[in-house]
Symmetry: D2
Subunit: 480 residues, 4 copies
């Protein structure tokens, strides 16, 4: 397995075409791109730490060697639980994405679906995938995932779009591989990964064969362009003389990009679905099921642990931590977070083998959706309470740079002091600002799919007949 | 094990002193008392049903025989999960209390605490309890629990009360046993049980030894008086010519009483704590931990399954089940309920042996409290949506008796018909009325302890230092 | 104007055909029917009280005499405010319906619409209505309203129904009047009123002329049958030896009935719309606008005042009123209620003349809908907090009759005492039970129309273009 | 009255000592400082616009001339309503503070309290204030307000603080005036105002006379230093080549500073309270009362109008505006906002003369607090829905600068297009980002005082005795 240093070293071989804020930037120099490399390096570092070994690593079923859990196909409910714990741990340690998370969940979804296709259609997708997986494990590569398409006109199917490129699709099939075009949006971390696994954004129908495509693509492959998100936080980082003045100094925001595929060639050994529309919906559904537990639930539980800790510190620094209404609000943050944590645990421990006979495990779908809905809604409340207890300071604080300016330092020290010195109060307020006045409310809402998708899933998954029968039986109504 | 019929037969031996609505009533004749007997009989019946065998029964660790799970000490996380499933199942089947639930959780709490006392103090409480447990299992007795004291002046400790009887306590110690006085309020089901297990309502302190008392007492023991709750539902049942006209025809409401102990003698073999104040808080805490998972969480999940089923039926009977806002509300009911269910599952599966070495298992405390808080608050929402979809009818409907009156039957048939006939709509509306215009909102809120108690528990159980360190580490603050 | 005694005397002339619980009952003897007479009498009494003169009475624009505000057409925003204050006052005094409320709002809606019809169509509906109004004012009659039809198959229009009678409609037009058939459901208080004003349940379309009908009908007219609601509270009242043992002793529940019109003859002078479909939607919309402010908002504010008062008493009787979490919950009840009160005030004071030139005033529609939505949702929270602070006792309390039974009185006195004697605690708990374990949650939700109707109204009333332009302007987007 | 141009011209005379991001900056050159000048200029412009004349201007009671409503003492409920409408209007037009709002409300609070002091103590504060007011009106000056002190150790009173400077106070009384020291934090807009009105942060007690001080101070007076807030938005603006790429291009964020008073001399004619501790609490309470209606309520209603408009545009640009769940969410935003608007209207229209005889009007306190609480909590929901409908794009969008880079423009045009072109979608998404991923959630929460303060006010303002009597009367309990 790679060390953090080896990871960073290995990335030097890549020079993807990245744009940010209207200009081309270098992966290894741009302040925002560096947060992605740094976050990935930290994840490699955690895998080296014996304290986290059983969470971050696992023995490969294929090589018998220790590998990253980010490259593991879950094969038991215990595995599912550890996978979900990894999501919480990396969030606690990074305060942003483990950029290998989507890739890991795509891998798990592909494992089952390719197994089924090979079995039912006689294809060799699964063996290709396993070959590729061995390569990934052997080299301990960082793999991101690309799922969400641009979508264009929301009222039309892919084939009906004026410009079909708004959905990634095959534009040419060659003997040695396929050529794809389109873009994946809100893509997390591709710029800092060795490669990206791409799957469709939704189930495709007959006639949409070109859109039912899944494949792996190495970073910086010809035809790939990465257009990064640009937010106030991007600017602040660019301008800041030292990362310590920032809200999440080392790891920053969840950085995404529009990952453009402009006639990108994919050799057949990296293609894991190509035209099998019938399987595409199930592939996406399995990805969603896993990702809602991990990214939708467990990851945000880790974020909330950070926010709860920071908010408690802010309360202590102001000296108000024992006021009954502060205790009430802290308790509410805890309640929300532990409820979401419980849902992810139930999702993992009530998971089951799927597809039957494959040896691969998937979480319980109802509880995974419940986890996502609990934290999506609850996260806004958690931010509200963080902002409440963080106080006006969380949005009106001066820069910590004032402490280094002799003309203002004594004023800021004097007037920002409470039960803790100004330095500490500014530092924790900046950290809280990063959450309660930043990208995480809306980000948590939409990550792993917007809540409306989880609601539709919950409704569809409910056995109404069973519940109706229970009610009828007690009410003295005959079954119809 | 007893059949339902054998249970009912066995109860004939008991003639407790019961008052209801200002008059003494007979356990075997009073319409409300009969709902308790009927509910208990149904629980015996479920244990006979092979379909529910693994939920309702278990092999005794003491006799090797199959016994009711209501008389079982959980010895694994799987056991805890089944225990919690029993709570859901009986709620689905009864729409009211499994009146043996509190007794079962008291038994589990007593098992651990007596084991510790015997080990640490050299008492023989644990062996007494096991002897008694064997007797209960051999005779498959129904055991209720008595926990909540009258409490008098809430600002004073038991010993400071003007009238110490507001807390159950020992008034005399004799060679052959003890004499107790006081009352347990909001007591569920003692009138229909073979016996009741009594524990303190809270931890007692030095000087409050007489109040640190736990014991078993058979139904109808001399000195016992049961003063029943009286609500509009009591009256409606008394007046109704047939139970079918009622909202929960067979099993009615969760029936409670003030269980008065007027100098009741308890022989030593039925005393399981007597003066050990140091252990009393832990006893209550363990009871709470278990009971919040079962009564606080899983039981109400079963109720909510019924309400969801009934509400969906009401929507279908009105023909509105596909309207987007109806689907949204049904989904919200499901979301709440599955979230609570997930918490109970996590509470069970993340349980652990406690006390260490005892072989007895207790659920995870944080997730049990989360389960209770989720459903306590969510239940009011579930009732709101049931009332929304049930429509004005849920509170303005005429009696189903109108359908048997030739002067009104044709009118009611004509005007209460929608997508289903009037009969069905009236029946399901009455069932919904039972929930959304009845005792269950406030009952669910306070059952297994009021939410404020769970909030205090959650706050106390939280490891703030750990979370503060996570935040400090990311924010670049040194640990203090 | 009539005194309360004169009202009761005047009612003796009426002997409507009333069914309740499957049996025919006498208006002047049945315990439930008596609550309606008593409530109406109390409203007459309030009008006699100089303290409430400016709320309950007003100088008639037609006679120059003092008349009941229940028979007044609002002609200024001050009038609208007083009308809304009357709704709050009667709720505070009755804890149930002012059964003349719907009639008053129907009257106001009819005033404008008949004025328009006469002006535009040359009909004489308005002069008929004014004639009738003078008669009502001169005799100070109690007038209820009938609005909600049975509706049958919700997916079909009135003319498409298998049985057209599920909407009240004209079945015959004669020289001297019309004959109507159908039923009004969830009708409040017709049994205790001198007459009832009936309007359509919704806007009718071309081809549905027979359903576009509005008229007045005296109590007990031939062909009328009243089938009363039947709930657990009906039974409790019937069984109770004294009203003092009940939750709302004198005035009970909001009593409704199915008011059946089986070929009822209405003379032309009592017909105020007959076939003018074009005006029917506007008639209903104006009724809704007024009724949402009064019944939807102000009335429930009065109920909430009662609940807040009772809950504070319960807290004081238990001695917990100063605990921070109790103060927090009381504050939340107050916040909800004052927010709803503010909405009703804004609805009244931002009202306007409608139709222009008529001299009649209607409340602001947006704020009226906001009032209803605030209290509909908030009322469930208010009930939740009442149940929280009321404690388990609110649902597990024994009958107050136990205090009169020498065998249980001393026990109940002893064990129900806290910071106040058992009598007081039982009394206030029973009052709280009436709310938090009764019909008012669902009743408040649907009264004045279900919340979905208010939401649709709010959306339809919003000027999106204006708001879009504001946003475009600031964002630097050109208007399209 | 000044035109916008004249205002900007007049500001050139001021060169305050401003620090931002660790460096001293020039008011007339710094990109962030310019947003404050621009916002103020826009408010002057609105006063010139005949369309807004009755909202933005009023005839002075002192000069008979037209003056800005920002310099007016409300003297009727109609005045209060217009004042509150000004708050909504300026928010709609600026998307940030009217920086003269706090000053206006401080002025109103000072008017009454100085009137009382002069009457009761024989001081001449009121005549001083009126003289100063005439000067302000004649010159149409922009006046900001300074209220919130640094506060230091929250558990101690001002006199007990280690460093008394954490509360602004008098350090020297001279013949010609006073010298003050301390700081006002979270101060809005002082840098762009002609002067600032300062009052205590809370009621002072006997012994705290030096802290009971109110005065006016011109911008840039010797001893004043302004240390500005610094957020990601500050950096983004500094880096942006054109304001059009920003979320609120012209007016930016609510910019605040720590306004440091380092031995600032205030001549007596600008001192309006000095030592009268008895009046200080009432002064603050009156300010709060007015400010909660205006800043706490009406201002945020204007912001919400903008967000609702933008979100509807985003829905239309994506083509999803008719989906039922989108309509539901838009409706919820509207409901919240119209409820808050109703509260501000009720606060204004139920206002009253205070102090009696003064001719000055204050809003209703209960409804003002309800307005603030409704929008404080509701704003987080509004942001949630804006983020929901705005979609992932609201946080993952690229910079609009990409549209000007030929290497990325065609990709962004292609992939960001939906029912509207990429340009429009990016522009409205950036505007939504400004709200749902910015400073406004926490800012709205704390503006005009944190919600806990409003809750305490609501509880304190409630007449519990009246409500208890209503409940007792109905429940049949005697008054105690």
């Amino acid at each position: 397995m790679k060390t953090a240093t080896e990871y960073l070293e290995s990335m030097k071989a890549y020079n993807p075409r990245i744009f940010l804020g209207g200009k081309q930037v270098n992966l290894h120099e741009n302040s925002t791109a560096l947060t992605v490399l740094r976050a990935n390096a930290r994840v490699y570092e955690l895998a080296e730490d014996p304290k986290y070994a059983d969470i971050m690593t696992v023995i490969s079923a294929y090589s018998g060697e220790k590998v990253s859990r980010n490259l593991h196909i879950s094969s038991s409910t215990a595995d599912l639980e550890k996978r979900s714990e990894m999501a919480t741990l990396t969030s606690q340690m990074l305060g942003t994405c483990n950029y290998r998370c989507v890739g890991a969940d795509v891998l798990n979804a592909l494992a089952g679906i390719t197994w089924e296709m090979d079995k039912e259609l006689g294809t060799n997708y699964h063996s290709r995938l396993l070959n590729h997986l061995k390569y990934l494990q052997e080299n301990d590569l960082a793999v991101s995932g690309g799922v969400t398409d641009a979508k264009g006109d929301r009222t039309k199917r892919p084939v009906e779009q004026e410009d079909p490129d708004v959905y990634v699709h095959v534009v040419e099939k060659r003997e040695d591989g396929i050529v794809v075009r389109g873009a994946k949006v809100s893509q997390s971390g591709a710029i800092g990964s060795h490669e990206t696994l791409v799957i469709p954004t939704m189930g495709m129908r007959q006639g949409e064969e070109d859109f039912a495509v899944a494949f792996a693509v190495p970073n910086g492959t010809e035809g790939l362009t990465y257009i990064c998100q640009y937010t106030p936080f991007t600017a602040e980082r660019e301008l800041s003389p030292d990362v310590k003045y920032l809200g999440n100094p080392l790891y920053g925001q969840r950085e995404t990009c529009i990952m453009v595929f402009d006639n990108v060639f994919i050799p057949w050994e990296h293609v894991f679905m190509c035209g099998e529309t019938k399987y595409s919906g199930r592939l996406v559904a399995r990805f969603a099921k896993t990702h809602r537990m991990n990214c939708g639930g467990a990851c945000k539980v880790g974020f909330a642990d950070l926010i709860i800790g920071a908010t408690q510190l802010a309360a202590e620094y102001s000296g108000v931590q024992k006021a009954p209404h502060i205790v009430e609000k802290m308790t509410d943050m805890i309640r929300i977070n532990e409820t979401a944590r419980a849902c992810t645990i139930a999702a993992a421990l009530k998971g089951h083998e799927e597809p039957a006979g494959s040896g691969f495990f998937q979480p319980d779908d109802i509880f995974g959706n419940a986890a996502k809905l609990t934290i999506a809604d609850g996260f806004w409340d958690i931010l509200k309470w963080a902002g409440d207890i963080g106080g006006g300071m969380a949005v009106t604080m001066p820069s910590e740079l004032e402490l280094e300016n002799p003309e203002t330092a004594h004023y800021v020290r004097k007037f920002m002091k409470a039960s803790a010195p100004a330095e500490q109060r500014l530092r924790i307020s900046k950290f809280i600002q990063n959450w309660c006045a930043g990208l995480h409310g809306a980000g948590t809402w939409h990550g792993a799919g917007s809540p409306m998708a989880q609601k539709m899933a919950l409704y569809a998954l409910t056995n109404f007949e069973e519940k109706k029968n229970l009610a009828r039986s007690l009410a003295g109504l005959r079954e119809e």
